[in-house]
């Protein structure tokens, strides 16, 4: 792991626009120093998830410190789990976060931007479910 390596983030959404929008928002809030790669929709541009897109995103997000994956809804979890159990050549470590999509990516990305390690970035994402808006 290089000195500058940051934990990367992959957003897996059923919607390409949702993944891209959440990535843009999190990038702006966190200052743009973390790789946040959207993997939304199917290869044909429809609503759905694509293991191939997720696999490409994982490669792009990996700078040596590991990658945290945030799924939007439950069935995106199935795609990611199948990929993680079957595919070789994945970043290490790679973890799937049980977290709200928007709050989770914002919290995870800010933690990664501050240099947090894999465990702390994952914890930041998962603690996001307890954050109150009001």
């Amino acid at each position: 792991m290089s000195l500058d390596a940051r934990v990367g983030i992959v957003l897996v959404s059923h919607s390409a626009e949702l993944a891209e929008g959440a990535a843009a928002l999190a990038a702006q809030i966190s200052g743009g120093t973390v790789a946040i790669i959207p993997a939304g929709g199917t290869e044909e541009g429809q609503l759905g998830t694509s293991a191939a897109k997720v696999q490409r995103a994982l490669k792009l997000a990996d700078s040596g410190a590991g990658v945290v994956i945030l799924p939007d809804l439950g069935s995106a979890v199935l795609t990611v789990r199948a990929l993680l159990s079957e595919a070789g050549d994945l970043p290490t470590p790679v973890e799937l976060a049980d977290a709200p999509f928007v709050e989770g990516v914002v919290a995870a990305t800010v933690a990664a931007a501050a240099g947090a390690d894999m465990k702390a970035v994952l914890a930041a994402a998962e603690e996001a479910r307890h954050a109150r808006k009001l």
Binding site: S30, G31, A107, V110, A113, A114, E127, A128, A131
Partner: protein, 90 residues
């Protein structure tokens, strides 16, 4: 040596998402615990969602408090970000 340090300022702009992010990234660089208090609401400055959840707006008084070995430096850094990032037009 561990220390407590705090400083209050009046916000000149609303505490939106982008300054909240910059603040949380900066706070995380210090080993001291850093908190923000607005009225009766208190947030961990290292939690971007907590900082945004304060809903702090222009004209409100915000107290930055830190406890730990680098408390004074942490408070100074956070006050600088609050002053600059919430300036109108920033």
């Amino acid at each position: 040596m561990p220390a407590n340090y705090e400083q209050a300022i009046t916000l000149t702009g609303d505490l939106h998402a982008r300054p909240a992010g910059a603040l949380a990234v900066a706070a995380a660089r210090f080993s001291s615990a850093v908190s923000l208090t607005v009225g009766t609401s208190r947030a961990d400055a290292k939690s971007v969602l907590g900082v945004m959840g304060l809903g702090a707006t222009s004209g409100q008084h915000i107290t930055v408090a830190a406890e730990g070995p680098d408390a004074e430096e942490a408070v100074a850094a956070i006050v600088t970000i609050l002053t600059q990032a919430t300036r109108v037009g920033a």
